[in-house]
């Protein structure tokens, strides 16, 4: 399907925090009550619309288990956005955020937009991490923050779409080099075919006018 841009995301965070469930909820609008351990990577894709433009999100769901970190590290590269997820009912998943952040910053490109997500907000009675703590962590590290529930779907759409909006804004500001696929952004076919000779300039191409950086 034609799209103006393609953004690559990764979902990272401790095992069991609900990464695969978030992806499933976003792509299939389903909830999976069983923890089916992710080992390799799982892919998902969905089309969204921002500013009247079709944007394809290509999402890479990674393994949270420490033992599979060798694989997870391989997927950091070339992502434009990351959802860093913890489980509000398990304090240790929040405590590990710093390690995840270091790992992400070390292996990914520096412009990557990171969205911090406190998942399982439906389990209020078992909450171990206050919402304010998540907000404070996000502020301190320059992340966007949101609490979600992959079970009730609360805020799931918003989490993925707001990340895309941030990336989109960065593109408008010229922060991302959109011609280098290694940054996790690809210009869609309707754009690149417009630029003769494949020069792949940042012009608005076949899309509605006014989208030029």
């Amino acid at each position: 399907m034609a799209y103006a841009y393609l953004f690559k995301y990764i979902i990272i965070g401790d095992t069991g925090v609900g990464k695969s469930c978030l992806l499933l909820q976003f792509t299939d609008k389903r909830f999976q009550p069983v923890h089916d351990l992710t080992i390799g990577v799982e892919f998902g894709a969905r089309m969204i619309t921002i500013d009247g433009k079709q944007i394809k999100l290509q999402i890479w769901d990674t393994a949270g288990q420490e033992a599979f970190r060798s694989i997870t590290r391989s997927y950091y590269r070339g992502a434009a956005g990351a959802l860093l997820v913890y489980d509000i009912t398990r304090r240790e998943t929040f405590n590990h955020l710093t390690t995840w952040l270091e790992d992400a910053r070390q292996h990914s490109n520096s412009n990557m937009v990171i969205m911090l997500i406190g998942n399982k907000s439906d389990l209020e009675s078992r909450r171990e991490v206050k919402k304010e703590e998540g907000e404070a962590f996000a502020r301190e590290h320059g992340l966007v923050f949101m609490e979600t529930s992959a079970k009730t779907a609360a805020n799931v759409e918003e989490a993925f779409i707001n990340t895309a909006k941030e990336i989109y804004e960065k593109i408008q500001e010229g922060v991302f080099d959109i011609n280098n696929e290694a940054n996790g952004i690809k210009i869609g076919p309707q754009h690149s075919t417009a630029g003769a000779g494949g020069a792949g300039g940042a012009g608005a191409g076949g899309a509605p006018p006014g989208g030029c950086c």
Partner: protein, 729 residues
């Protein structure tokens, strides 16, 4: 209506009877599975999806998962105890894993194999209970031993199961022993349920456990067949699959296994053909790149091994898919090497050389040499795993005498040949070789050649006045007679004075109690005055400061990445030696200086700059500059000290450049309107925008500009190196 009525009846019954326990439910579904096969008609064309089989089996799996979740929730109470269903599996009262293994083998009804493999994988991913239990790992072993032939329709399910299994082993390394052959200990034979009908596919299969037991008989002696990892074999087959998702899973599974810290597994993997297989895939991908591909296309590919989802359509541009695949495999090798156990990394590096580099190197002397050179250069540039970079560097310089190492000789031939494009790619390769070379390759290519300092004129043969005259002459290649006649003579003198003053100023800025050595002054002047003013395009040397800043940065880079090299600890002071050259009077006469094939090729190219195109010359100066920046005393002296008397018949950089300067000084003024054209050429070449002015340019003028800039760069490097060496003292 009727069904509504039966529902009501059922709920009434539910109220009356106590709800079945989880175990009862588990046993119920098992009974339904048995019944299914009891009544199974071999001639049936029904597919498994159209039967109740998936329903019952999935329920059984879910019951096991639920039971475990419940136990985990109440973990504080009675930890460690097996739930009733799990217990039934462990006692083989309900041999679910056996049944799944048998279904996977028999594939009856059609589709049962895929179902069984998927369920086994799910069982591994969704439950945590240990596999150290023969009724669970035994059937898994059998599945591995009876893996389907390549390209079977269930390849994807097999790949998922393998990944799940490797994941299990990664988390519980002691399991690895259970998935080796021959088996460490005898496996209990499958106990057939007495009621089993003879012709059911579940029981039809002769239990392979018996076969394994016969072969291994429990105890192994050193003469028995070597232990092998059962997981490795199907996994390596999948690496060759045509289905990219299967390949991806196999890559992930191998990475997971290889990253195990247990040395036993690393050795098992090393004795399997895993590393060789990965290197072969790399070679196949290398060979698949179409020969007519433009090497420049190899530049901006985002080629991580995991950078594209496996089902994504391949890029349409010709050759890009193959190129992407090649760099993808390269990245996988690199990743594997960085993540794996050190013993395996060493093995992988050897396989990388024997199964990839050796074969790829042959392409350097064949018709596709241009592309092969470009690919290998990028290959070395992208590699990050120290073991692979080391192996690559070692491969480039060989073991015996360097002059006899065919690979290097091929590269040198390519570099000196008539094909400018090949020269250019080879020089680019040389630049990477210098940049990423390990200690040994740098030693063999360059440093060992100069550390004897054989290039210095023996004191006996030194005729200082003659040398000085020579230098004077070279510094002023327009020759005295010509100069006197020329209107430029005065300007040249002024120019020389100005350059000397500026160098003097520059050196005076160094806050050092000792005065800078007069030799440094000479060295810098030699470079800056190599070309006579009359042919300079930029007599003011406006960007000299920029060259100094660049040189400082690059020198620092070298200092950082060679910090551990042995020669850095050798603090012998070449500068002090050479300042008073008479101090070595009693040194034995050295053998004639031999700069070795690598330096010789570079210096030969330098001497022939006027015959080469601009792009080649520019790349050549890049390689030479990089070498000149190495913080190595003798190399620095050899490349950057024109003031030092060099032994006769010795090739030095300065002599080569002087020859070129002399030729240009004569030829350039003969070109019509040479000053205006020179100026324009400079603007064309140094402008940021390549399309600004594409009027044809004269090659001699281009060469002149390269040389002019290179001289500034060398002067800057000489200055920076000198600064650094003084700080060291």
């Amino acid at each position: 209506m009727l069904s509504r009525f039966s529902d009501v009846l059922q709920s009434a019954a539910d109220v009356l009877a106590p709800p079945p326990s989880r175990l009862e439910e588990f046993q119920y579904h098992w009974k339904m599975v048995l019944n299914f096969y009891h009544n199974y008609d071999e001639s049936s064309k029904q597919r498994v999806e159209d039967t109740r089989l998936p329903h019952h089996l999935q329920h059984m799996l879910q019951l096991l998962v639920d039971e475990e979740a419940e136990a985990a929730a109440g973990a504080d109470a009675g930890a460690g105890a097996l739930g009733a269903c799990r217990e039934a599996v462990a006692r083989r009262a309900v041999p679910l894993p056996d049944a799944l293994a048998a279904l996977a083998h028999a594939d009856r009804p059609a589709g049962a194999r895929a179902l069984a493999l998927a369920l086994l994988a799910a069982l591994l991913r969704r439950t945590r209970a240990s596999l150290h239990c023969a009724p669970v790992h035994g059937p898994l072993r059998r599945v591995l031993l009876r893996a389907a032939p390549p390209a079977s329709p269930t390849e994807r399910e097999e790949a998922e199961l393998l990944l799940a299994l490797c994941g299990r082993v990664r988390r519980e390394p002691s399991l690895a022993a259970l998935f080796t052959a021959p088996l460490p200990e005898e496996e209990p034979a499958l106990r057939l349920p007495p009621a089993a009908p003879r012709r059911s596919p579940l029981w039809d299969v002769p239990p392979p456990a018996a076969r394994v037991a016969l072969a291994g008989d429990g105890r192994r002696t050193p003469h028995d067949e070597p232990e092998r990892l059962l997981l490795a074999e199907p996994l390596l087959r999948h690496l060759h699959s045509a289905d990219s998702r299967v390949v991806l899973r196999a890559c992930e599974a191998l990475l997971v296994l290889a990253s195990l810290p247990a040395p036993e597994v690393a050795h098992l993997l090393a004795s399997s053909p895993a590393c060789e297989c990965v290197a072969e895939r790399l070679l196949a991908a290398f060979r698949a790149v179409p020969a007519d591909l433009d090497p420049a296309d190899a530049e901006a590919l985002p080629a991580g091994w995991a950078s594209a989802p496996p089902d994504e359509p391949a890029p349409r541009a010709p050759g890009r898919r193959q190129l992407g695949a090649f760099f993808g495999w390269l990245d996988y090798c690199d990743t594997l090497c960085k993540e794996c156990h050190p013993a395996l990394a060493a093995h992988l590096a050897r396989a990388f050389r024997s199964h990839f580099l050796d074969a790829a190197g042959e392409a350097l002397s064949a018709r596709g040499a241009l592309l092969a050179t470009a690919l290998l250069a990028r290959c070395l540039r992208r590699l990050d795993a120290p073991e692979l970079v080391d192996e690559f560097s070692d491969w480039l310089v060989g073991d015996g005498p360097l002059e006899e190492w065919p690979l290097l000789l091929t590269l040198v031939d390519n570099c000196l040949g008539a094909d400018h494009d090949l020269t250019l790619e080879t020089l680019r390769f040389f630049e990477v070789i210098v940049e990423k070379g390990n200690e040994r390759s740098m030693e063999r290519l360059v440093l060992a050649r100069v550390s004897s300092r054989g290039y210095v004129a023996p004191p006996a043969e030194r005729d200082d006045s003659a040398e000085r005259d020579e230098r004077e002459r070279l510094n002023d290649v327009s020759f005295a007679r010509e100069r006197e006649r020329s209107r430029d003579a005065l300007q040249q003198l002024q120019h020389e004075r100005r350059v000397r003053e500026r160098v003097g100023e520059l050196l005076a800025h160094e806050r050092d109690e000792r005065a800078p050595s007069p030799d440094l002054h000479d060295d810098i002047n030699s470079f800056l005055l190599l070309l006579p003013r009359a042919v300079l395009s930029d007599p003011l040397g406006a960007d000299y400061a920029q060259y100094v800043a660049d040189a400082q940065r690059q020198l620092q880079h070298w200092l950082d990445c060679t910090a551990a090299h042995a020669w850095r600890r050798d603090t012998r002071d070449a500068d002090a030696d050479s300042c008073d050259s008479r101090a070595e009077a009693d040194r034995p006469a050295p053998a004639p200086f031999d700069e070795g094939p690598f330096l010789r090729a570079l210096l030969e190219l330098a001497a022939r700059m006027p015959e080469r195109p601009y792009r080649v010359n520019l790349q050549l100066t890049a390689v030479l500059a990089r070498l000149a920046l190495l913080p190595h005393a003798a190399l620095r002296e050899y490349l950057l000290r024109p003031a030092l008397p060099a032994a006769p018949a010795t090739r030095t950089l300065f002599r080569a450049l002087s020859g070129v300067a002399a030729r240009l000084a004569v030829a350039v003024p003969r070109l019509a309107q040479h000053r205006r054209r020179l100026h324009r050429t400079r603007l064309q070449l140094l402008s940021e925008d390549p399309a600004a002015d594409d009027a044809p340019r004269h090659p001699l003028l281009e060469t002149l500009i390269v040389l002019e800039e290179f001289c500034k760069e060398l002067a800057a490097i000489a200055f920076v190196q000198h600064q650094h060496e003084r700080q060291q003292r």
